[in-house]
């Protein structure tokens, strides 16, 4: 790491400072529950990588969605592996995010000065659930179809605006090709863009403010 080249680079980039700010920062004595955020980040990266790989073969139209997923799972070498990682990673993501949130609540880590970190975290939780909801439809099998039928119907239950919400989510009265296409678009463009932005803010705040210690009886 101390070669002339890395020194030359560091003079221009200042990456050593960035590195030590991220990885060599001082933290209080904490326990394993404080790794849940990093675990979530790790699974999120897994979802991004495997998700990008799946789009290489997946086609979001009613006549090809199911078959292209079957093709990925049964015909492609390592396709079952990539899809499996994305499938199980999705569940892991929801579980980890909820556990991470519970830790923050129970340790009171959302308090001053970390309120904004908490707010972004809440939005991130909603984004993760939206990822799960939109991703569930994409295999276009019976389970996906009916789960989304029920899910969008639930979204349509509020009085007055319910019907309006239902139609906007489905892209019409019925669950159709339009629904599949927009769920795909939201799943691979809208949600990832928002997620990356908010994860950036979230992590910046974690590093800037430092993490809270385990609360003690005296406090």
């Amino acid at each position: 790491m101390e070669s002339r080249f890395t020194n030359w680079l560091d003079e221009r980039f200042g990456w050593r400072q960035v590195w030590s700010a991220i990885f060599l920062r001082k933290i209080p004595k904490v326990n394993w529950l404080f790794t849940l955020g990093s675990a979530t980040l790790f699974v999120a990266i897994n979802q991004i990588v495997t998700g990008i790989l799946l789009t290489i073969y997946y086609v979001p139209t009613p006549d090809h969605a199911y078959d292209s997923v079957q093709y990925i799972t049964t015909q492609l070498p390592a396709g079952w592996f990539i899809r499996g990682l994305h499938h199980w990673g999705a569940s892991a993501m929801v579980i980890l995010v909820v556990l991470h949130m519970l830790r923050v609540i129970l340790y009171g880590a959302y308090k001053f000065p970390r309120e904004v970190t908490w707010f972004t975290g809440v939005i991130l939780l909603i984004i993760v659930i939206a990822f799960g909801f939109t991703g569930y439809l994409l295999p276009w099998d019976q389970r996906a179809y009916w789960a989304t039928t029920v899910g969008t119907r639930i979204a349509g239950t509020p009085p007055l605006i319910g019907d309006w919400i239902l139609k906007i989510i489905r892209g019409g009265e019925e669950l159709t090709a339009v629904t599949l296409a927009r769920f795909f678009g939201v799943h691979v463009w809208v949600l990832p863009a928002t997620l990356l932005l908010l994860v950036g803010v979230h992590l910046y705040l974690v590093i800037r403010l430092g993490i809270s210690a385990v609360p003690t009886r005296e406090e």
Binding site: V49, L53, Y57, H64, S68, P77, A78, F81, I82
Partner: protein, 158 residues
């Protein structure tokens, strides 16, 4: 004797890089296989398709046959029609000629009066055996593999 002590910090740093490297290759190699695997696979195996009794093939005249074959296009299966001419002089030795002109891919047609195959696009002419007689085609008509089993004629083209 000097004990070569590994500090806790150094150990954790090395462990992080090693585990990270393992996860990276564990995901990286399957990803690469997933992306390039099917692209490098050989074309689908051709199958023998039955055409009917060999004795029914007309002697001395190329006869047009059409078969339907299933072609895999990713996850889509298409049915395609393949046509070709079967020629036998003695009812024992058969040849199957593709009806696709070797010039630019138009369909050639057997004209019995003149005893030649004609391509309507650029006046390519082939003889009964598929050899080039005149016109722009660069090589004779392509041939399919044929076999006769129990008096039945089969073509390799599925």
């Amino acid at each position: 004797m000097e004990v070569n002590r590994l500090s806790r910090r150094k150990f954790l740093s090395i462990a992080t890089w090693v585990i990270g490297g393992l996860i990276g290759t564990g995901l990286g190699i399957p990803s690469l296989i997933y992306i390039i695997g099917n692209s490098l696979k050989q074309n689908q195996e051709q199958k023998w398709v039955r055409l009917g009794p060999a004795s029914k093939v007309e002697l001395g005249t190329p006869t047009l046959y059409k078969i339907k074959v299933k072609r895999q296009s990713g996850w889509i299966v298409n049915e395609e029609e393949v046509s070709f001419y079967i020629l036998t002089e003695d009812g024992r030795d058969f040849i199957a000629l593709s009806n696709i002109c070797t010039h630019l891919g138009c369909r050639v047609r057997w004209v019995g009066d003149q005893g030649n195959f004609f391509c309507p696009c650029h006046n390519g002419v082939f003889d009964k055996q598929g050899g080039v007689v005149s016109g722009p085609p660069p090589r004779p008509l392509d041939r399919y593999d044929l076999k006769v089993e129990d008096g039945e004629l089969y073509i390799l083209g599925g």
